[in-house]
Structure formats: C-alpha cells, structure tokens
C-alpha cells in the first residue's frame, strides 16, 4: 500500500483518496447510520410500499421512503438479488411499480435524517462551516443524470446535487463534495445544533416535480429536493434503483467506506428504533408463544392493577413511542397469566421514557407473569 504524507494536504492513499487527518478521522467519520444497508429491523428483508400519500415510511433502519403518491415503488433490502458491489453484502433497492408522470409539487425519495448531536461538529450555519463529501455506490436499470439533495431539518436551506449513471445495471461509485452552508438555519432544537433534534437530511430523488427542484451545486433558500431535470425513476414501470455504501464525511474527497462491526451498527440504529422480536422477525401480533417474546413478572400495585417494566438495550433519542404486540391474538396488548397458567389479554403502556416503559393492566384478578412483544420508536 502506497501512502503520501503531505504537511499541507494530509495523507493520500493509493486509491487517491485524501485524509486530512485532523479534520476527518479515519474511523467514526461517517455521519450516516446503516450506510451499508445491513440492518432491517422493521421488515427483516421484506418488501415495503407506502400506503398513505404524503408520508414517510421507514424501510431499512434509518432510511425512509417518502412518496407523494401510494403504490409507486416497492423498497426492499437486496431487491432483485443482484450481486452487491465488492466489499458489501447488502443494498437498499427500489423498484418502480408503474410509469407515473410526477406533478410539479410531488416527490419520491429515499432519505435519512441526521440528529444534531451527530452533525454539530460540521458547524453549518456559522462562518466556520466545514466542507463535506457524500459518497455512495448506485445501480439502476436506467442511465442518465440523477439527483438528490442535502437540506436542513427546518426545510429552509437545500443543496441539490446531481450524479451520472452511464452504464445500466452496473454499480457506479459516486462522490460529491459540498461546501458547508454558512446560513444560520441548521438548528431545529433551539439556538444550538448540538441537540437530539433533527439537523438535516440526505436524500436521493426517484422523481421530483419542477416546483420542488432547484439549481444543482448551489445552496438554495427553501427546500429543493433535487436538481431540475433529473431522471425520474418513477416514470418507468419496472425501473430499478439500488444504493449502498452511503457515507457523509468531513473533507473534500471521499475516503474508503467506514466499516462498522454489526453489533455497533445495530446499536446505532437502536437509538431510533428497537424491538423485542428476533432480528430476523418483522414485528407482528399473533406470532404464538415461544417466539422470543418477553416474559416478565407482573407486579401488583393497588386493587386489580398490575404493572411490568421493560428496559431498552439502547437509550433512545427521546421519549419513545411504544407499541405492544399480543402473541396469541391480533391485539396491541399483552397476555397476563395467573398461577394456573390462564391468560387474560389486555393492558396498555402506562408511561415510557428514553430508557424503557411499563405496561399496566388494571382489570385482572391475579397475574404472576406477563408475555408479549414490543417495539419502541424515537425516529426523526
């Protein structure tokens, strides 16, 4: 391995990537989570489609599919089962479900929200804003100029970028350098961006109307979700668009993708979403007993009221939204068992925090243990 150490530019590796050491550490440099598309807690590899127009749907962990219309795409880990690029085992795959002409204000995109704590060192919104480089590998059945954007959480500043895919059905490495934004609009949680509030989004555009597009390569006021005139993947029935190895780092060149241990990346994801289900099982009710469901002690409080407490593996970004799943029927509650093993189904979340929650059942005569599954979400 050849290496050039330069007192002015930093360290240049034999793949020509530059590492300005102090500004961009070789590890813990990627501002994005699950950029290798490894973790898929919600769907366990199953396909996802948006069922409500104008909403975002989480697909692989941390990656959200936003669509102005329903049923225009399916999104799935390793969709189409193509060979991932060298060094990767997974990718996020989008497949167009129809040939749709995007209206002027409509959007179809894949995006990740970045938490303030993870991006405040970029100093965007100040005179010291740092330049960043976005890199990724992309594969499509289409060729042409595609696009995306980086924009603040408040929706007041955006930088559309474009990239070219010259060869269809071929993994293409893309690198885009973005000068930091000095506009003071990169806080959504008060005067500082160093909070658990949203900082901004990286998004990839699968179809973007003219009214929500903007000039590429410059900072725009307002939200432009992509460059004007970019290829519309949603416009071709059956078109595919796959992505992996997504990295956002400080500096002017893309360095090799930051490899994280599986358990580390899972924990990063669990700050935003965690489940009691096995990692390969998508959350659902009525899965039956012995499916990894939690079995907890039921503790009496007063009268016929019982509570049981769950601690999260990872502290959440904020107070979590908690959903209960009954293991023996289709209800969002738990099964409370008396000493004879007879179940009474019911209960609800009494309270949650960023560290856990308790479930409470107020109308059971006696209970010794309680069983069920849960998910906890604190997404941006």
């Amino acid at each position: 391995m050849s290496l050039i150490i330069d007192g002015t530019n930093g360290v240049t590796f034999n793949d020509s990537s530059l590492q300005p050491a102090a500004a961009s550490p070789y590890v813990l440099k990627n501002k994005l989570i699950n950029g290798a598309m490894v973790i898929d807690q919600r769907n366990a590899g199953a396909s996802v489609a948006t069922t409500t127009a104008g909403t975002g749907t989480y697909t692989l962990d941390r990656w959200q599919y936003y669509a102005s219309q329903t049923s225009k795409f399916t999104v799935q880990q390793n969709a189409g089962s193509v060979t991932p690029p060298t060094g990767f085992n997974n990718y996020l795959g989008c497949t167009s479900s129809s040939a749709y002409s995007v209206l002027s204000t409509e959007l179809f995109l894949i995006r990740q929200a970045i938490e303030g704590f993870n991006a405040s060192d970029l100093a965007w919104g100040t005179a010291n804003a740092k330049t960043v480089t976005l890199s990724f590998q992309v594969y499509s059945s289409l060729t042409g100029t595609f696009g995306g954007a980086i924009y603040n959480y408040l929706g007041t500043r955006s930088y559309p970028f474009s990239y070219t895919i010259s060869s269809a059905n071929t993994w293409t490495q893309i690198s885009i350098t973005i000068a930091g934004d000095t506009s003071a609009s990169w806080t959504s949680g008060g005067s500082s961006s160093n909070t658990n509030s949203g900082w901004g989004y990286i998004s990839f555009n699968l179809g973007c109307g003219s009214a929500v597009s903007g000039t590429t390569g410059v900072w725009n006021s307002g939200t432009a979700f992509g460059p004007t005139g970019a290829t519309s993947v949603v416009g071709t029935n059956g078109a595919t668009w796959y992505i992996t190895g997504v990295q956002l780092e400080i500096g002017t060149t893309a360095t090799p993708f930051e490899r994280r241990l599986y358990n580390q990346e899972l924990a990063n994801c669990q700050r935003y979403y965690e489940k009691s289900f096995a990692i390969g099982t998508a959350p659902a009710t009525n899965l039956g007993a012995g499916t990894g469901d939690v079995i907890l002690s039921a503790n009496t409080t007063v009268g016929n009221s019982y509570v049981s407490t769950v601690s999260f593996k990872v502290t959440k970004r904020t107070t979590a939204t908690v959903t209960l799943y009954n293991r023996q029927n289709a209800s969002n509650d738990w099964s409370w068992y008396n000493s004879a093993g007879t179940a009474s189904n019911g209960g609800a979340v009494g309270s949650s925090s960023d560290n856990g929650f308790y479930c409470q059942y107020t109308s059971v005569t006696t209970a010794t243990v309680v069983a069920g599954h849960w998910t906890a979400s604190a997404e941006l």
Partner: protein
C-alpha cells in the same frame, strides 16, 4: 385517529395518546415526531377519542 390513554400508575394527568391505526402509545414529548404529528392533527381541528372508562 387517536384516543387518550388512561392514567398510568401514580399519575395525576394523562401523558400519552394511542394512535388507533397501529395501537402505538405516543408520549407527550415535543421531541417525539409522532407527538409532533399528533399536534398537527389537533391543529387541523381534530379531537381525540376519550380514554376508556
């Protein structure tokens, strides 16, 4: 559509709401995006169902 929850153990005021589409319990925390969506729904003139008796 949402429904207010019953008081939790030791609580004197309601601290969460149930999203009926999926049964999720949403805490009254301004940093929680599900709660932000609930507040927007309220601003649009909607009213949650009362808690169960």
């Amino acid at each position: 559509m949402y429904k207010l929850t019953n008081l939790g153990f030791g609580q004197t005021e309601i601290t969460s709401v149930i999203r009926l589409s999926d049964g999720a319990c949403i805490p009254f925390d301004l940093a929680n995006t599900d709660y932000q969506a609930y507040l927007k729904w309220i601003e649009e003139g909607n009213t949650p169902l009362p808690a169960e008796e």
